[in-house]
């Protein structure tokens, strides 16, 4: 059932993305954002139900395998999209988020269908460990959205520079909002990751040195990114590019899990 729910969720994100692209190309993008939110909300609902079922299976936070980590990361991305996208008025953030979620969830589905490790209950659940995992993955969700905002910035910047004033141009958020979203999202991610790292030191069994080193590297990468911005030495375009490059750090850490 959990796999079916995940497949439905993936289909919702696929549907939302296809719908948004078709609506933009047809030149009638007026309701694109509104209806796209419905697709994303449906995808989020199925995603949450799938994670709930996996959580019931293990009796703890469902992040016991690479597939589950990917699904939880996608869930974090979509959750933050709802919180941040609406607050920062970032239209089309959903459309740009969907391909990322689509790829991650398709890989997760493939892994679950081919090699589902099954239930992995623990005798005693360490609350600090659960907090560490959940908050760290939420922070990675924020970093993923930082990258998405970076892509949106670069697309809008290119359109402004090349004078390509099409439907996508008018439906993307103003470039100034995108620049500030990159900074805010990186800040949110950094705050969450700080909580995640601190909670790792309170766990009954500390994570291994490689895991902690990589977490510090991610933290440092985003701290430098924000420091660079605050120093005034960067331009928004360079910051957007850097946000994409620095996202390789959390991706590298995920690959080691």
């Amino acid at each position: 059932m959990d796999k079916l729910l995940l497949a439905l969720s993936t289909l919702c994100f696929l549907g939302g993305f296809v719908y948004a692209v078709v609506a933009l190309r047809s030149g009638r993008p007026r309701h694109t954002t509104r209806l796209n939110v419905v697709f994303v909300a449906a995808g989020f609902l199925f995603q949450s139900l799938a994670l709930h079922q996996r959580g019931q299976l293990h009796g703890r936070c469902p992040v016991t395998s690479s597939a589950e980590i990917l699904v939880f990361l996608c869930w974090s991305v979509v959750l933050l999209y709802f919180v941040v996208g609406r607050t920062f008025r970032l239209s089309l953030l959903g459309m740009f988020t969907e391909p990322l979620v689509l790829v991650f969830q398709t890989v997760a589905l493939f892994l679950l269908w081919t090699a589902d490790p099954g239930p992995s209950p623990l005798d005693t659940v360490d609350g600090w460990r659960e907090l560490h995992v959940a908050v760290a993955l939420l922070s990675f969700g924020a970093f993923a959205l930082t990258g998405v905002a970076g892509v949106m910035y670069l697309v809008q910047d290119r359109q402004l520079k090349r004078h390509q004033l099409g439907a996508l141009f008018y439906n993307l958020p103003p470039i100034r909002h995108l620049a500030s979203a990159i900074v805010r999202l990186a800040g949110i991610g950094l705050g969450l990751l700080s909580v995640g790292i601190l909670s790792a030191f309170l766990m009954q069994k500390r994570p291994d040195a490689l895991h902690l080193t990589m977490a510090f590297a991610v933290w440092l990468g985003y701290a430098i990114l924000l420091g660079w911005h605050l120093s005034g030495a960067s331009t928004p375009r360079r910051l957007a590019l850097a946000a994409l490059l620095v996202f390789l750090l959390p991706l590298a850490q995920l690959a080691t899990l």
Partner: protein, 365 residues
């Protein structure tokens, strides 16, 4: 009861005539009561905008009503040579169709513009408040609002920006978001730069700085735009403080170079700079557009976008008219009693357009 419309618009009368016939908003309720006091006229709405002056009325005898209304206008506005003004006179379905086109923006100078819809609503509201409308005009105007909304939401008649100023505003909003707090500098006090600056101000730009070789002209334009004049020798100093620069000097060579902008950008702390070059020959070197966070648009490009939008809107006319006719085919003209309603297809939209076109030919503006 028959419907009628008597009026002039930008196609049939020059601005000198339209301004003479304009009804000021204050006192309009009294004028409406005077109009409905004319014997065969029972209901009336006056639509008076910069592009048209039209009286919509419901009357027992339309021929008599047209005569009385024309005399009223001649007397009220003390017209010296009324014969020189050719009012269009539309009856029943012709009057209704005309209003539907007006409310949909199809009869506007800027095709598909939205302002007219609000103006029609306001004209009707004033007439309602003055108690000079009843069943006939109430039904007519309510139907026109429904059709206006239908046409605007169901077609792309109001998409795109059709003037250089509005294209510039659109681009500015895609850079800065809301323009509140944006500072604008005008270098060269020409007519086009005034128009673009006004468009930006109307959308919330907070302050204008004007610089011109002739300082007196700068002071004059700054006063008109409620801004501040800066001496031409000083405009470079202000560059770091503004977000949008409109340049339209008559200099024979570029006055804004990449090196100048590169010096300024580090002092802007990541704020974008939008440069609008409406001068010919151009004031700003194209290489400026290669600088990070600087966006340069010239007059050719802005005009091209505006022209493209105008062409796109023209293409929508047939679609809009078909939509109006389909609505009339389904619902009829609700204001008309059944015996006065036209048979389906009796009056095609092209007939109406042609008839308006004929008026235009007789009275070239």
């Amino acid at each position: 009861m028959s419907l009628l419309c008597l009026g002039v618009n930008y196609k049939t009368a020059p601005v000198e005539i339209r301004e003479r016939l304009a009804f000021p908003e204050t006192g309009l309720p009294d004028r409406l009561r005077e109009i409905t006091g004319l014997d065969p006229v029972r209901e009336a709405v006056v639509l008076s905008t910069c592009n048209r002056v039209e009286i919509y009325a419901a009357a027992e005898d339309h021929a008599e009503a047209f005569e009385r209304l024309t005399h009223y206008l001649v007397d009220h506005f003390r017209l010296d040579s009324p014969a020189a003004i050719e009012f269009y006179r539309l009856e029943d379905d012709g009057a209704a169709r005309h209003l539907f086109h007006v409310a949909s923006g199809l009869d506007s100078m800027v095709l598909g513009e939205t302002e007219i819809f609000g103006q029609v609503k306001k004209a009707y509201q004033i007439a309602c408040d003055a108690s000079v409308t009843a069943r006939c005009l109430n039904k007519l105007f309510q139907q026109s609002f429904r059709i206006g909304k239908l046409v605007r939401s169901g077609t792309q008649i109001q998409q795109g920006s059709t003037s250089v100023g509005s294209v510039a505003v659109d681009v500015a909003e895609q850079i800065f978001g809301r323009l509140d707090g944006c500072r604008v500098m005008v270098v060269g006090a020409g007519e086009m730069s005034r128009q673009v600056a006004q468009s930006l101000l109307s959308r919330g730009a907070s302050s204008i700085i004007v610089s011109n070789r002739s300082h007196d002209k700068a002071v004059e334009l700054a006063a008109e735009l409620n801004g501040e004049a800066v001496r031409f020798d000083d405009w470079e100093r202000v560059l770091a403080e503004v977000d949008i620069v409109i340049s339209s000097t008559s200099a024979p060579h570029a006055i804004i170079h990449p090196a100048m902008i590169e010096t300024v950008m580090p002092h802007r702390f990541g704020r974008s700079l939008f440069l609008i070059d409406i001068a010919v020959p151009r004031d700003i070197e194209p290489a400026v557009n290669d600088i990070d966070n600087v966006y340069l648009y010239d007059i050719d490009f802005l005009e091209k976008i505006a022209a493209r939008a105008r062409i796109e809107r023209e293409k929508q006319i047939a679609l809009c008219e078909a939509m109006i006719e389909r609505h009339i085919g389904e619902k009829g003209i609700e204001a008309l009693s059944p015996e006065r309603r036209p048979e389906t297809g009796a009056s095609q939209p092209t007939d109406r357009i042609n008839s308006m076109g004929n008026i235009q030919k007789r009275n070239p503006v």
